[in-house]
């Protein structure tokens, strides 16, 4: 049973959702923001530490939500490591396309860490679970304290 959900609940997502590698609050951080999906109650907070060149040196998060939102946050941390704010925003735009449609031309390489979530487009009510941590990250980069995936 449930073999047909393995496209979304694949080994990577299950592992990252259950045992996230980057779910921690950064002791020293330059930016932080919360993400809130008021439709379902999922909450996430993201902390970011910048390098001297303002690229992302480290990201940590805390998430209260489903496997998808936690796995998305965990994979996001790896995807944005070393990226600038502009790079990160472009990646989010691409990831949204990927999450909503399952395909994203010209972004396969940059978004490789997020590919395990590609099937989420088959689950429209879950797309916002996958994008919530990105909303929080972008809000942190923009110096806003809060965001929503509503």
């Amino acid at each position: 049973m449930f073999e047909d959900v393995r496209d979304l609940y694949n080994a990577t997502i299950l592992e990252r959702g259950r045992r996230p590698r980057h779910m921690r609050r950064l002791e020293a951080f330059d930016a932080t923001a919360k993400g809130d999906n008021p439709m379902c109650g999922d909450r996430v907070q993201v902390w970011v530490k910048f390098a001297e060149d303002r690229s992302i040196a480290a990201t940590g998060f805390d998430a209260r939500g489903c496997e998808i939102s936690k796995a998305a946050a965990d994979l996001m941390v790896e995807a944005v490591a070393g990226k600038t704010a502009d790079d990160t925003k472009a990646m989010f735009a691409a990831f949204r396309t990927l999450a909503q449609t399952g395909a994203c031309e010209d972004c396969a390489e940059a978004l490789a860490p997020m590919q395990p979530l590609a099937a989420v487009h088959e689950y429209p009510s879950r797309v916002k679970c996958a994008t919530l941590p990105w909303h929080a990250l972008i809000a942190a980069l923009d110096g806003q304290g809060a965001s929503t995936s509503e």
Partner: protein, 408 residues
């Protein structure tokens, strides 16, 4: 198992013949919105096909027939709630609008700044936010009657809220949309009245499952919504005692709610039209009338007996699922069962159940403060309707065991 033939009931719901992802639909989300029987669908389509025009002011045959059909819904709602007078039935869009109407009109028009409104710790957002808005705009106080860990209203604490004599209005659910708990409405009203306060009961869930008698309860206001009662969306009912409604100012202005209009001033139509500005939900009203007649024909005794058996069966079967915790253990409860699984978040549960053709709800159920009180972020919720079968609950319980195995 039922006192009525659930097979023949189900045959009246066209949608229950649908398959979802190749599997028979197991619809366990009726507390969010119920499916519609053929009688309701036909009444609405029939009205549009054979007798439709705007109502109340038309001087032609079609308008008169449509007015009669629409106003029959007012009679039906009055009968359903055992209201003393059909003019005590105000049509609104849904329960939310009914509560907002009372908060705005009775709240600002009758309650005084400094008076308090009492809600409970297990309200839907629709019975919290309007009172916060009233507090902020009008200077009333908002008090919250606590619940016990079992999910029952703490009656001693409730009564204590009246001690300073400031409470002017109580607005409490008649049945929790999360915990399935019924509240002791009669006792709630008695205590409030003994302290000079009025009571609004949110019957969105309760009216679906048991006979409501507003006069026996002595409720001052009672709201429910059509779409949970097997009727259409867009039509709900606010019952208010005539004397209260008459003393309340109108909420929205427009056509249909006036007696006369000049550029200097207007005078209001009589109750309930004073509260029904603009062209109403005509077809939806006709659908609601059909829904009420359909429910009455089955009868609340049979409905309540069926749902009591289902709920007992569900509590037994679901409690036996390893790692499953039922949220809410009220003595007096109905067919709404919230639960958590130790290994899976509510959204993940809902997604996997969906793949098995089972529709449940997951999240905070528009009751965030209650979730916080329970120490939870979210729950999954199975809710039953008149068409729900014991076999569907067995499918749910068996599938939940497999969901848990999936996340091992």
């Amino acid at each position: 198992m039922s006192q009525f033939d659930v097979t023949s009931i189900r045959a009246q719901f066209p949608i229950l013949g649908q398959t979802v992802r190749g599997k028979d639909l197991v619809f366990l989300d009726s507390a969010a919105s119920a499916q519609k029987p053929r009688a309701v669908i036909d009444a609405m389509v029939g009205a549009m096909e054979t007798q439709y025009a705007n109502i109340h002011r038309g001087l032609h045959w079609m308008s008169e027939r449509t007015t009669e059909a629409y106003e029959a819904a007012r009679d039906a709602a009055a009968r359903l709630l055992n209201a003393g007078d059909r003019h005590e039935i105000v049509f609104v869009r849904n329960s939310t609008e009914g509560i907002n109407l009372v908060a705005h009109s009775y709240g600002r028009g009758v309650l005084k700044p400094g008076q308090a409104v009492v809600i409970s710790a297990m309200e839907h957002h629709s019975n919290i936010v309007p009172w916060q808005m009233l507090r902020d705009a009008h200077g009333t106080e908002l008090r919250v009657a606590p619940i016990t860990d079992a999910g029952e209203l703490d009656m001693a604490a409730y009564e204590a809220l009246f001690a300073d004599g400031k409470v002017g209005l109580v607005a409490i659910t008649h049945m929790s949309n999360v915990l399935g708990s019924y509240t002791p409405a009669e006792r709630i009203v008695q205590i409030a009245h003994a302290h000079g306060a009025k009571v609004l009961l949110d019957g969105s869930q309760a009216v679906v499952h048991r006979k409501v008698d507003v006069r026996a309860l002595d409720a001052d206001f009672y709201v429910f919504t059509g779409h949970k009662l097997y009727g259409p969306t867009g039509i709900g009912v606010l019952y208010g005692k005539a004397a209260l409604l008459e003393a309340m100012p109108p909420w929205m202005g427009g056509g249909d709610m006036i007696s006369s209009v000049t550029y200097e001033t207007s005078t209001w139509a009589r109750v309930p039209h004073k509260f029904e500005a603009g062209t109403p939900a005509i077809i939806e009203g006709i659908g609601l009338e059909a829904a009420i007649r359909w429910v009455e024909a089955i009868g609340y005794d049979a409905i309540a007996a069926h749902e009591a058996e289902l709920t007992e069966h569900a509590l037994a079967r679901m409690s036996a699922v390893d790692g499953l915790t039922i949220i809410g253990r009220a003595q007096d409860r109905g067919g709404v069962v919230s639960f958590t699984l130790d290994r899976a978040h509510a959204h993940d549960i809902a997604t996997l159940l969906d793949r098995a053709g089972i529709a449940v709800r997951a999240g905070h159920h528009c009751a965030e403060p209650l979730m916080r009180r329970l120490g939870l972020e979210s729950t999954a919720r199975a809710s039953f309707g008149i068409y729900t079968t014991a076999e569907e609950i067995d499918v749910l319980a068996d599938t939940l065991t497999k969901v848990r195995e999936f996340f091992k």
